[in-house]
Symmetry: C2
DNA sequence: CCGACGTGATTGTCCGGACAATGTGACCTC
DNA sequence: GAGGTCACATTGTCCGGACAATCACGTCGG
């Protein structure tokens, strides 16, 4: 298919933006949200120019740095591309989410599935050497241990095993069956910052097969993840197993030059 | 007057930074690189404060916006955390790479392995419906097709199959055996922008097992990836298979609030 | 003794301007 | 007509300043 599209550059600012100076929401954020909405709804066509920053600033009654800040945030999101001497263009690829640190629960819910959780285990134990190393605590220290089965449409999808430092949050089995672990942590005031992940595959053991409804030797997706909050403290270590026949990781990622 | 004696912040600047105004390298970038180096080498200890922006600007002979720009770039990388009223802290978790869009070749090379490539196929073919949809071209259109085996230490690690729009770059078999595909594309002036990936697992077929030295039914990691350049054009569709016993995806990701 | 309050420190937001670097397109020369 | 040259448009970088928002901590009052 031809890449060339009708370069109708005549369409000058079909979209009207405005900011509310009495709002506590930062001006650049108001603008970036309006821009993002216009892009997502197609009001700003892919490939179209955005109009130069100075004129845009003048039209909105903002300064150029403020407009630049708004634009930059969308460039960081991958929605816009700046070209010196040309202007700022709307990227016309299907950018969705640049791989958020989301729980499986959120993933499934976003995919329109209705996730359910069965808590198999909710207790405390002593950290093994592996767990202690991942969480940065002493071997033998007390840690919370949660094992869950995650279902969609009544079918098991994954077996989730999580270790958390003792006393970090209150893990009620009821709430664990209602929502995802990350939501509970965020609700407890923990600000997640980064995670280190490893994704691999292996054959199912007999026990794993029984739990997940797969035969022995069936391929399973594995993920191990250590999550850190913004102080650098490890707040969670997860060791998860997914049915490869039912689940795959899908994500979008951006290039940061 | 009741001057404050608790001047604890004064002892917080053991590192000296400097900028070269005659260099064509932007000042904020010079500073951010020096900061990054200081963090990586441990000269700036994890958890330590950075000294407030105004003082830092004055010490370097820069303006505060410039210093802020340098700091912000490292905050975006996950190396620093800003706290209003407190200061800017060095994160003390082991941040490595926030999941770049890298080729397997670069991954292996960075891991200290010595990757080798054998080109199995380097030709053109007609796009199937799946390929056409992934690349956004017409079904039956001509596409380049490359199949490679990737080795480390003489052992096969992955089987890579790539489809590219016809005529995008010149795919010489020799260069494909020397380096990775992404490097060739970048060298051809293509600026990679984003990619959509799916990672899953499945059991090896007989043929796959023979190619990779695994028995039939062995678990394999699979990845499908469509890569886009900054105009939104799809430049590559890859369908890859990795030996799960020899390879796993490892990466770090950041939370973008 | 303990909580409310204020104060200082620091980052967050915003402004207006200046010049540099870069890519496009028209113009000019050969 | 082909190719190089130059003006123009646009983003990139940088400055100096101003005020607001937020957090830690010491002080004061109950």
């Amino acid at each position: 298919m031809g890449k060339r599209e009708t370069d109708s550059k005549g369409a000058e600012s079909p979209v009207r933006f405005s900011v509310d100076r009495s709002s506590p929401v930062p001006l650049y954020f108001q603008l970036s949200q309006q821009l993002e909405t216009a892009i997502e709804t197609g009001k700003l066509a892919p490939g179209s120019l955005l109009g130069n920053e100075i004129e845009l600033a003048g039209r909105l009654g903002l300064s150029r740095p403020t407009v630049r800040q708004a634009i930059q945030s969308l460039v960081d999101k991958g929605l816009l591309v700046r070209r010196r001497g040309i202007g700022t263009q709307v990227v016309h690829s299907q950018v969705k989410r640049p791989l958020e640190l989301s729980s499986l629960y959120d993933d499934l819910e976003a995919a329109g599935q209705k996730p359910a959780t069965r808590v198999l285990l909710n207790t405390t134990t002593e950290a093994t050497a592996e767990i202690a190393a991942a969480l940065g605590i002493a071997e033998g220290a007390e840690v919370a241990l949660v094992e869950r089965l995650r279902f969609t449409h009544g079918e098991p999808v994954a077996h989730l095993r999580n270790h958390l430092p003792a006393g970090l949050i209150d893990l009620s089995t009821e709430r664990l069956e209602e929502t995802g672990l990350y939501r509970l942590m965020r609700a407890a005031g923990i600000t997640l910052h980064s995670a280190r992940q490893a994704v691999g595959a292996r054959a199912a053991t007999v026990e794993e097969g029984e739990r997940l409804g797969e035969p022995e030797g069936a391929p399973l997706l594995t993920m191990q993840r250590t999550t850190f909050d913004d102080t650098g403290r490890a707040v969670e270590f997860g060791s998860h197993v997914y049915r490869a026949s039912r689940y795959a990781f899908e994500f979008q990622l951006l290039v940061r030059p």
